[in-house]
């Protein structure tokens, strides 16, 4: 699963688009379409779609809490990348304080989210995928998969919480915490509002 997400992230990063102006792209699309230039229309529409994805990403970042527990936003890590086609957008934010670190990433409009959903909704499959380090939990009414990260020691654990929101995947990762703590932190994130924006 981790490899899978890394793969998606790599694709998203390598093909990240540059912010485009929505209105400009739409005007270009309309002009090109009226002139019968279908290929140009197509390109302009894609640009407009990228712009929408970027706006959504920025709006989601605004919804995220300014602080999680004692951890504060690491503004340098804020990132919204858009890519038409395979994945809609990747939204990323990091929080830290001392050794404790939290990381939120949202991949929107990804057909690959279906896989996580399948694991969550098929007890047999969930059982097969389980290596004793992951369990299914509920966060604000959403089914989620909580996974203890390899390399964690007894006194310092890292956890990964994956929540499918429609066709987006919300991943919350916290270093140096307990499973109860990560769930408490996750409760401070307005998942419903985010889901509404990115659905």
């Amino acid at each position: 699963m981790k490899l899978f997400i890394t793969f998606i992230a790599v694709i998203a990063i390598t093909s990240a688009g540059v912010a485009q102006d929505f209105t400009k792209a739409i005007t270009t699309a309309k002009t090109a379409y009226s002139a019968g230039k279908l290929e140009d229309t197509h390109f302009a529409l894609q640009q407009a779609m990228q712009e929408v994805d970027l706006i959504v990403g920025k709006e989601v970042l605004k919804l995220l809490p300014p602080k999680i527990d004692v951890m504060e936003i690491n503004a340098k890590e804020d990132n919204v990348a858009s890519n038409v086609g395979f994945i809609g957008a990747t939204i990323h934010r990091a929080y830290d304080k001392g050794t404790r670190k939290a990381d939120i990433s949202i991949i929107s409009n990804s057909p690959l989210v279906a896989m996580t959903n399948m694991v969550l909704n098929t007890p047999l499959l969930g059982g097969m995928m389980s290596d004793g380090k992951s369990k299914t939990v509920k966060v604000q009414g959403y089914k989620a998969r909580l996974e203890k990260q390899p390399g964690s020691t007894n006194d310092k654990n890292s956890y990964d919480l994956q929540i499918p929101l429609g066709n987006a995947l919300f991943t919350f990762k916290v270093d140096d915490c307990t499973d109860t703590q990560i769930l408490q932190f996750a409760d401070t994130i307005p998942l419903q509002q985010i889901a509404k924006l990115i659905e």
């Binding site: 929505f22 739409i26 699309a29 309309k30 379409y33 279908l38 290929e39 140009d40 229309t41 197509h42 390109f43 529409l45 894609q46 407009a48 779609m49 929408v52 994805d53 706006i55 959504v56 709006e59 038409v84 086609g85 395979f86 809609g88 409009n109 509404k196 924006l197 990115i198 659905e199």
Partner: protein
């Protein structure tokens, strides 16, 4: 003494085999009687005969079989202008999810129009084969440009058939590109070569022959598009190449926006 022993062995063997045969015969008889009696009892009790070879078993009892319906109506491709307008309205109202959806619909509309234009540009007859418009397909999924696929078939009354698929599928094109960039993968050493690189109007291509499928010619176009010709019952490689050369590849390439 030895003779007596042999005779005894022979006789006992004969008896054993006789008993086995007799048992088999008895079992068959018993089964037959049972079946006849069962049928007779069933008939008296009004139970229908057991028909294990019928297809009825696949349906669970009581669930009706679908005998037909109107199917789905053929929806016109999305109206590009209307979808763009809707996207603008949704964007202005900060309803980004709807804006994205409308843009996707507009993209699909553009792709289908483009596919139809490409179909229109293909010749009505190729190498004495006539187009079978019933098999024309223009398919677009909402994944923006990556899954546009155009399909057309030409055939004659005999078994000769030509199928062309123009696709914009990055995934397959990547695989084809792998062959082009690695000559070692396609140059066979055998006397009879079934796979090789060729050029069609200057474009890199691969041609393959299989007895069961005939000839397959794949031309890679630009970054992510390709044309595939599947030729069934064509006499030889030259005939396939001549047929491919009758197509205006540059025009298709230009329409797809490839360089």
């Amino acid at each position: 003494m030895k003779k007596v022993l042999y005779t005894l062995c022979f006789l006992s063997a004969l008896m054993i085999s006789d008993t086995a045969a007799a048992q088999g015969f008895l079992k068959k008889l018993k089964d037959k009687v049972n079946k006849t009696v069962d049928n007779a009892v069933d008939k008296k009790a009004g139970i229908p005969p057991d028909n294990s070879s019928g297809n009825n078993r696949s349906n669970s009892p009581g669930s009706p079989t679908n005998k037909g319906g109107g199917g789905l109506s053929n929806t016109a491709p999305p109206d590009v202008k209307a979808q763009i307008a809707e996207a603008e309205t949704a964007h202005a109202a900060k309803n980004y999810s709807d804006a994205r959806y409308s843009l996707q619909q507009a993209l699909m509309g553009v792709e289908i129009q483009l596919g139809r234009q490409i179909l229109k540009s293909l010749p009505p007859s190729v190498d004495a084969l006539n187009v079978d418009t019933l098999q024309d397909v223009v398919m677009s999924t909402q994944w923006g440009w990556n899954n546009l696929s155009i399909h057309r078939v030409w055939k004659n009354t005999a078994d000769k058939q030509l199928t062309i698929t123009v696709g914009n599928a990055g995934m397959y094109a990547g695989l084809a590109a792998l062959y082009f960039s690695n000559a070692g993968m396609v140059e066979a050493n055998g006397a009879k070569q079934n796979f090789k690189q060729v050029r069609v109007k200057g474009n890199k291509a691969i041609i393959q022959y299989e007895d069961s499928k005939g000839y397959t010619l794949i031309v890679s176009l630009g970054q992510s598009s390709m044309i595939v010709w599947e030729c069934i019952n064509f006499a030889n490689e030259q005939e396939v190449m001549n047929t491919a050369n009758t197509f205006d590849i540059d025009k298709i390439k230009k329409m797809l926006g490839e360089q």
